[in-house]
Structure formats: C-alpha cells, structure tokens
C-alpha cells in the first residue's frame, strides 16, 4: 500500500484539468459583482444557519420548548405586558412580538427553516420535473400528452390559492396503499406546507425541461450518440441533460427565493408553520396587528415586522442574484464568449 500522501498527490494531479476549469469559473464570478453579492448574502445565511445553536442557544423549559425550533417566550415579563410587543433591549436584541416571543431567536433559527423549505421543495420539484420532463420530451406521444395536460391542470390554478387548499386538505396521517403493502407517513404542519409547495411547483420545471429537450433532441450530436450505440437513458443523461440543465438551474435558484416567500405568505395567512415555530413568515404573522397599527405614527412598533422582513428580503435577493450568476458562469455554451 502506498502512503496516503502519494495518493493525494496523484489525486491532485488527476484533478488538474478540473482545477483549471474551476479557476476559470472563479475568474468569471469575479467579473460580475452582483453574483459575488448574491454569493456573499447566501454564505452569510449559511453561516447563520450552521452557527444557530451558538448564536442563539436554545432556552431550557419552562421558557423554551424541548424542540429548539420553537421560539422561547420570556416569562419574566409581567403577564399583562406580555400581550404587547416590546422594543429591543439587552435580553431581546431584536425585541419581542406579542405574547413575548423573542424575535432574535426566531430570526436565527428561522434561517434553518427557510433553507429547509426552499431547498427541499426545489430539489423535490426538480427531481419530479426532471423525470417527467425527460420522459415527456424524449418519448413524446401519448405520455407527453398526458403529462402536459396534467401540468396544465396544476398551472391553471393560482399557485398560492392551490397551495392553501392543498395544505388544508392534506391529512396529518398520509396512508399510501401500494396494493401489496401499505404504509403511513405522519406529517407535521410544516411537512404539509412542503408537500403542497412541491405539488404546485413541479409543473413549471417539467415544462421548461420538456421544451429544452424537444430542442436538443433534434440536434446532430444526439443522433450521433444514438449512431454510436448509446441507450436511451445514456443519451438523455449524458448527452441531452448537460445541454439543457442550465436554464433549470437558474430557475431553481430563482425559485428557492420565491418558494421561501410563498411559505412566508402561507405562514402569514395562518396555515403555514404552527404558532411559535421559528419561521420568518410566522414572525411577521405575529406582528400582523402592529403593522401600521398607529395611524399617526406608522413606524411605531417597527421592530416587529422590519427585522424578519429584512431577513426574508435579503434571502430572496441572494437567491435571485445567484441565479444570474449561474447563467453567466455555468452554461458552457455561454461561458467562453
């Protein structure tokens, strides 16, 4: 056996062309300041999400809950004052909402929730979209027709309304009967939101992927790949997808922001995360009564909505900027111009 060091050296040497490409990619990123900003914002949020237990250590019961995702309530405040939001002070850096939920804690742990919702929904929708889009686009015919009409049905409804309907309609216990076996999945309230967003989100991916595959399918190199003896799966995965994946990556990146926004809207409407759950939309929902509550001084109680609002705003902005960066940097047909 050779030493690990020599193996590492070999590995480095074998990855040299990859490294060269990576350096080129980085040089492309450096040329577009907006994409750097997008990356910086997201990196900032990643750090917050990773360091959440350090930045905002969970408070033990009775003030907190055993689940760290539940925002702790300050029970030291006299009961009557707890009903109203309190401005920032030393124990509550961002202030508290009504019922004395700590905004700082909610914002920090809400980052994890935002990433979880955004990424999971996008990844799941992307997987469904990829499979259905590839099948519809590549094989065409009846399968294509059925899948496209299915997407039509979903797209025909306004997204948010359909999401709301699905969240309320989905049971907490989902029983799946496969004929030979059946199993039950218990869903939390947040899982239901996730599932609803996936069910509403996949058709747009399917359509974009299908459209691109229809275009690339007729290219000569696909025919050449077939003439070289590639199977359908190989043609799709190795020859068609690398040429069609980039618009979808951009879309996915933009969508991650949009989905966090939709999830926040659902929370705001009261059918998203359960009360007290660390979620930005939830925090804004808690501040619902204090947005412009005082006509003569609209900015009174500013802390209840401004901080979570800013968190959502910058998070979505970060994903949108990253989407643009993806286009400039990753698309091999564009990057060397």
């Amino acid at each position: 056996m050779r030493s690990i060091r020599s193996r590492l050296k070999e590995f480095k040497a074998s990855k040299q062309p990859t490294m060269k490409e990576l350096k080129f990619t980085i040089s492309r990123v450096k040329k577009s300041p907006l994409s750097i900003m997008g990356l910086a914002i997201l990196l900032f949020y990643v750090v917050i999400a990773v360091l959440a237990p350090v930045l905002a250590p969970p408070v033990p019961p009775p003030m907190g809950k055993p689940d760290p995702f539940m925002i702790w309530k300050d029970l030291n405040i006299p009961p009557i004052e707890r009903l109203f939001p309190r401005p920032p002070d030393s124990t509550h850096p961002f202030g508290t909402t009504e019922e004395s939920y700590d905004i700082y804690y909610g914002c920090i742990w809400g980052t994890i929730t935002a990433f979880r919702i955004g990424l999971m929904v996008v990844v799941l929708a992307l997987i469904i979209g990829l499979v259905t889009g590839c099948v519809a686009g590549y094989y065409g015919g009846i399968i294509d027709e059925v899948l496209m009409r299915l997407t039509d049905i979903v797209i025909a409804f306004p997204g948010l309304i359909l999401c709301m309907a699905l969240v309320t309609a989905l049971p907490y216990q989902l029983t799946i009967n496969l004929g030979f076996t059946q199993f039950a999945i218990s869903l939390t309230k947040l899982d239901k939101v996730l599932l609803a967003l996936v069910l509403v989100g996949w058709p747009s991916y399917t359509r974009v992927i299908r459209g691109d595959i229809l275009r690339v399918r007729e290219e000569d190199y696909v025919e050449a790949a077939k003439a070289a003896g590639c199977s359908d799966l190989r043609v799709i995965v190795k020859h068609i997808l690398p040429n069609t994946i980039y618009p979808i990556m951009i879309m996915a990146s933009l969508d991650t922001g949009a989905i966090v926004l939709t999830a926040a809207a659902l929370s705001f409407l009261g059918i998203g995360a359960p009360t007290g759950y660390a979620d930005w939309g939830q925090l804004i929902a808690l501040s619902r009564n204090y947005i412009f509550s005082n006509i003569s001084d609209p900015a009174s109680n500013w802390w209840v909505w401004l901080t979570p609002g800013l968190f959502i705003f910058t998070f979505v902005l970060g994903w949108n900027l990253l989407g643009d960066a993806f286009r400039d940097v990753l698309d091999p047909t564009l990057r060397r111009r």
Binding site: R7, E223, A224, A227, A228, P332, R336
Partner: protein, 374 residues
C-alpha cells in the same frame, strides 16, 4: 467479394399532418466488403434516410414499413438488422456500423472535450479490451488489481462503474490513462497535429476541418466494418475537403472497412467511389461501377445529372422541373414528369430495378425495352 450489407425493398414513411410522406419507396442496394458505394441524388431524395435506416435510427415520425436490411456479421452469419432487438442493435451501432454526419459543428456535443467524446465510444464498445490492457500493466498485487479483475469479470456492472468514479478510493486512473493513450493514437491517425492538446479541447475551439476529423475519429474508433459518411465534406471549403477525402480513402484502406458515401457532388464520387447508386425521390434508379456511370449512363435521370455538372466554356444545363412533393409523388415512375423520354407506360407502372448489363442495374422502362434480354 461478398455482400456486407444488402438493403431490400426498404419502405420508409413519415406520418405528418400534411399526409403520409413516402420518403423511401422500395430502395434496393447492396454494399460489398471493402468497397466504397457512392449514393448521389438531389436534396430530399432519401440519401440520408437510407443511411439512417441502416442504423435503424430514423427520426420521428418516420416508420420503416417494409423491407429487410441484411448485415453480415464478423462470424459470417447474416442477420436482418430491422428484426433485431434494441440491445443487439446498440452493439452493432458504433462498433460494426458507424456514421459521419454532415455538420461537424453540430455532430459534436458542445459540453464535452474531444477526449471525452471519443473516449466514450471507446469505453462503450471496447471496455473489455481496455480493461485487459490496463490489467496487464499492473504488476503488483493489491486492491487496484483486484478492482480491475472484478471489472473485467463483469464489464457492464453499474455499481462498479459508479464506484470507480469515486475519487481516491476508486482507482480508475490507469483506465483513464489507457483511454487517453488510445484517443491520442486515433487523433494521430487523423493527421491532427499536436493530438495531446486537441484531446483536451472543446469542439467550439476547433476549426471545421478539425471538427470533421474528430467526428471521423469517433466513427472509426472501434474499426467499424461499414462507415456511413453523410456528406462529410459539404460544409467544408475545397482544400479541407480534399484533405478529408484523402483521409477517408487512406483510412478505408488501412482498416479495410466498407464505406457508404452519401453526397450530391459527382466530382467527389468520381474521386472516391467504386460503385455508384443514383437515387431519385425515394428509390434507387441506377447502380453501376463509377466508370460505367460516367461513360454510359442509362437512366435519363443519371444522364441529366451528369449533364448538369458545370463545365467551363459550356452553357450550364439543369434538369427541368422540381423534385416532386413526396406526399403526392407522381404515379408510376417518379421521374416521368421531368423525363424527356417519358412514355405512356411510365405514368402507369413503376419500373423494377433490373440488371441490364453485368453489374449495371437500372430502373427504367426505356432501358428494359432496349436491353438485349427482351
């Protein structure tokens, strides 16, 4: 010489909104071992479709309705390609029959380097050989040797293919090196200067001539027995065209493969081919040796085609009329509306392809009436 490929009564139809396009209507031709058969004809007369049919990769909504394509395998058995399962066809495509496409720029996948694309073909068809060669290099016993032995036992195992891709643990470096060596060798054969550098380039970094060489390299990577060249020089300028023709001729001699050369350029045919098949509106109207066709064309279409080669100092002659719409082709002989020797029978009856002289097949009523047998 025995027949390597024989196409019998091939019928290809496209079911489109405007109607059924009768793209190929009873194509008959054969290619002998080691020969170059040229296929000429106007645009849209089914030359490319014939080539694609042999590989059974006709584009949608095309459907091969009838006909047989016999192919002689290396073991000497004759099989009907159209009756084979997809799994067997995939082995034949690329390894036994391969194709060069018209536009080298679009026949290469823009996201892969030259090395990756040629290497893919090599690994797809010659994985076992490459593994054997790699295994022979490893002298020390150990994990590496064991992995290669395992891969050799089951070259198409998907788990092993994935495992090998994991960096540091999976050791496929030697295999990769072997593939690169092979790729560089093939590129050298294609007379590409500095093959090591070209191997690492992306298709768009290459010139048209270079791209076509890479496409040819891909097609010849597994020493196919039949090479279908679909107008490989049409999009290149004349000097590069001459180089590519030279290259194809030399490679053909080296590898001993047969070539089906599709073109509309009579000059290229005269330069390269042993025999010529003239196609018109979806069927073959005349097949003969090159010299015979140029000296003594029998079918009126072949005659007209030869007359329409521009010559300096002479007035340019063209064939009157247009290629018919293949949704409603003319009845009988499809050439009769444009033919200056058309007779009454031409409108009613489709002529069969028959041998008028030795090795000279013509599908024309006129020729049959004149031929000595009748």
């Amino acid at each position: 010489m025995s027949k390597l490929v024989e196409v019998q009564d091939l019928v290809l139809r496209f079911y489109t909104y405007e109607g059924v396009v009768k793209a190929l209507e009873g194509v008959n031709l054969h290619i002998k071992e080691g020969e170059t058969l040229g296929v000429v004809g106007e645009t849209g007369c089914g030359k490319t479709m014939t080539g694609l049919s042999i590989l059974d990769i006709t584009p949608r909504p095309g459907k091969i309705e009838a006909g047989k394509i016999f192919f002689k395998t290396r073991r000497g058995k004759t099989i009907d390609l159209l009756a084979q399962k997809d799994r067997i066809l995939r082995i034949i495509r690329g390894k036994h029959i391969s194709m060069i496409f018209q536009e080298p720029g679009s026949a290469l996948n823009p996201v892969y380097t030259v090395e990756n694309q040629i290497g893919e073909v090599l690994l797809h068809h010659g994985r076992k050989e490459l593994l054997e060669r790699t295994l022979a290099q490893i002298k020390k016993d150990g994990m590496e040797k064991n992995i290669y032995k395992k891969m050799l036992e089951n070259p198409n195992s998907r788990t092993l293919k994935v495992f090998v891709k994991i960096p540091i643990i999976g050791r496929c470096k030697r295999l990769k090196k072997e593939v690169r060596k092979e790729v560089v060798n093939i590129l050298k054969e294609m007379e590409i200067g500095d093959p090591e550098r070209v191997a690492k380039m992306y298709p768009h970094e290459l010139s048209g001539g270079m791209q076509q060489r890479v496409v040819i390299a891909m097609a010849l990577a597994c020493n196919p027995r039949l090479l279908i060249a679909d107008e490989p020089t049409t999009s290149l300028d004349v000097t590069v065209q001459a180089q590519i023709l030279d290259l194809i001729r030399r490679l053909k001699k080296r590898f001993g493969s047969s070539v089906l050369y599709i073109t509309h350029d009579m000059g290229v045919i005269a330069e390269l081919c042993d025999r010529v098949a003239v196609m018109y509106a979806g069927s073959v109207c005349e097949i003969a040796e090159v010299k015979e066709i140029f000296k003594n064309p029998i079918h009126p279409y072949s005659k007209a085609l030869l007359e329409s080669i521009p010559r300096p100092g002479e007035e340019f002659k063209s064939i009157r009329g247009m290629v018919p719409n293949l949704v409603n082709p003319p009845s009988g002989c499809r050439f009769h509306p444009r033919c200056s020797f058309a007779m009454a029978i031409c409108e009613k009856e489709t002529p069969k392809i028959e041998e008028v002289k030795k090795d000279h097949f013509v599908a024309c009523h006129l020729a049959r009436a004149r031929s000595p047998q009748n």
